[in-house]
């Protein structure tokens, strides 16, 4: 294990992973409470566009992820994600159109340069490949996210749980909804750096959903959520490091696989026992 703690890429992976797990754990609780998992998933998928565009333009993928995340959040809000009815259709249509654009950019990536690995890196991420210079940027971005969340904490919570009550009290519900989507966009850009765009919703939603099963009180759930995310990310880094000695290729299993697997198994451990006790209850909903 001395090799593990002595390795530079591991330090970077642990630091970047920790920052990401904490922010996404906190933001994720709101995503789950607001029933916006699809939007979170879509924003993550859509930042594929930013990632592939950044690859093409040869800039740091992080800024591609962030820029596109904010723009798309705006487009989704415009299309009418704020109405519960029709929300998932609007999300779906935006998602489809932008995925098409990403397909085109990735196609240019693979034809204009010889880096055929672009598709895989953008989609599935590689924490060991994160450059040390990206860590301060990620920390700064995460700090901005947490501060912004703390700033709007009470109105956001109220408008998530009781939208009508919030607007009756003069909370600008739509502005907050838009701001929150941008915040989710920034958060999934961070998680995209860690586990890739396709898997980043796992880190956003998994720990939060598990935590909300354990406690209904938002601050407690946020703490649980960040904790679960942190454990999953660090275990993922350690297991992925160890897996360089495993079959079949001795090339290491992907870090994102371990993180997602741990997150999903944790969720199952909390969810399935309850489900088995009352198999027909949820349908009554």
């Amino acid at each position: 294990m001395t090799g593990f703690f002595g390795s530079g890429p591991v330090h970077v992976a642990l630091a970047a992973g920790a920052v990401t797990a904490i922010v996404s754990g906190v933001v994720g609780v709101f995503v789950v409470v607001r029933g916006q998992s699809f939007a979170g998933h879509a924003l993550a998928d859509l930042s594929t566009l930013g990632g592939s565009g950044a690859f093409l333009a040869n800039v740091n993928p992080l800024w591609g992820f962030v820029g596109v995340g904010a723009v798309i959040a705006g487009a989704m809000e415009l299309f009418g994600v704020q109405r519960r009815r029709g929300r998932d259709v609007a999300t779906g249509v935006v998602l489809g159109a932008v995925l098409g654009l990403s397909a085109l950019l990735l196609y240019f990536d693979t034809t204009s340069t010889s880096t055929t690995g672009a598709t895989i890196t953008v989609l599935f991420g590689s924490l060991f490949a994160a450059s040390p210079s990206a860590v301060p940027e990620m920390v700064a971005l995460a700090a901005v996210g947490v501060v912004a969340l703390a700033f709007v904490y009470r109105p956001l919570l109220l408008s998530s749980v009781h939208p009508e009550l919030a607007s009756a009290r003069g909370v600008p519900v739509r502005t907050i909804a838009f701001g929150f989507l941008v915040l989710v966009g920034v958060t999934v850009s961070l998680t995209s750096m860690v586990v890739g765009t396709i898997l980043s919703p796992a880190l956003l939603i998994g720990p939060a959903a598990t935590a909300l099963r354990l406690s209904k009180r938002p601050p407690v759930a946020m703490a649980f959520s960040a904790g679960i995310g942190l454990v999953a990310t660090w275990s993922g880094v350690a297991l992925s490091y160890a897996s360089y000695r495993w079959p079949p290729a001795h090339a290491g299993w992907p870090i994102s696989f371990f993180i997602v697997a741990i997150v999903f198994l944790t969720f199952l451990c909390v969810e399935v026992p309850g489900r088995l006790r009352r198999p027909s209850a949820p349908e009554a909903g």
């Binding site: 998933h41 259709v89 998602l95 489809g96 995925l99 397909a103 598709t119 796992a202 998994g206 992907p254």
Partner: protein, 261 residues
């Protein structure tokens, strides 16, 4: 543009257009866009796994699509399904990433499965797609009334003795079935675009179920045909055209209904 390999592309595109219009109508009606997105994406892991052991990718799709659909159905109730859907799709894709990392030759094949490769459709694939499409359409015809009723008015359907849970599961299996047949052609990421965009456009201009469904099929066919032609002429990926054209139809539908009001 209409000979050889392209003949298969047009035939398969037409089949996919018809079926995704019909099933997509129910996807939009039930607010199941996320599930329609998640099942194809999850089945991608199956294709990656089949690729690894040297089996036909369709076999992998046929195993993973129903597994994903049924675990979403079992773990999440219909009203609060989004969290479970997000997690199941992530878990499946995690497996997909693992399979990919084990296999040595991935980039081109993966890209094809994610974003579609309509020019590589073989005769065998064409017949398989046609068979699965027939099965899907027959299934829709058989459960048409209970499915429609439980989508529009679940409470009334339950009161009339429709088994909502069962119909819901059948619907998920249906989505899995047409996923298996379409992913090798239009790709996992954009399969759902065809199931959501055209029916949503149709629904914004028409309310009568049969009429909306027919319109959805027409719009889906127009989208697919225009995309194949554009993809052939430009050599750009078909997924790009499907996504953009479907969104354009949706916008046009919304604009049209806004102008009429």
């Amino acid at each position: 543009m209409f000979s050889g390999v392209m003949a298969n592309a047009w035939a398969v595109g037409t089949i996919v257009g018809v079926v995704s219009g019909v099933v997509g109508f129910f996807v939009v009606l039930r607010g199941a866009s996320f599930v329609a997105h998640a099942v194809p994406l999850s089945s991608f892991a199956g294709a990656a796994g089949a690729n690894l052991v040297g089996a036909d990718p369709v076999l992998g799709l046929a195993v993973f699509a129903p597994v994903a659909a049924l675990s979403i159905g079992w773990l999440g109730s219909r009203r609060r399904r989004d969290v479970v859907t997000a997690l199941v799709v992530a878990a499946m894709l995690g497996l997909g990433a693992l399979f990919l990392s084990w296999s040595t030759q991935y980039s081109a094949a993966v890209y094809g499965l994610l974003f579609g490769d309509i020019l590589g459709v073989s005769d065998g694939q064409l017949w398989l797609t046609a068979g699965l499409a027939m099965a899907g359409l027959v299934a829709v015809a058989l459960i048409y009334r209970p499915l429609l009723l439980s989508s529009v008015a679940p409470d009334a359907a339950a009161a009339r003795g429709v088994r909502i849970g069962l119909v819901d599961m059948l619907f998920l299996v249906l989505v899995a079935l047409i996923t298996t047949m379409s992913v090798p052609v239009v790709g996992a990421l954009l399969m759902f675009t065809l199931m959501v965009g055209p029916p949503a456009a149709a629904r914004s201009v028409s309310r009568a179920p049969a009429q909306t469904m027919a319109l959805a099929v027409v719009v889906a066919l127009a989208t697919v045909w225009a995309s194949i032609a554009a993809s052939y002429l430009s050599t750009w990926p078909i997924g790009f055209f499907v996504g953009v054209i479907a969104a354009a139809f949706y916008l046009a539908g919304r604009a049209w209904s806004a102008l009429r009001r």
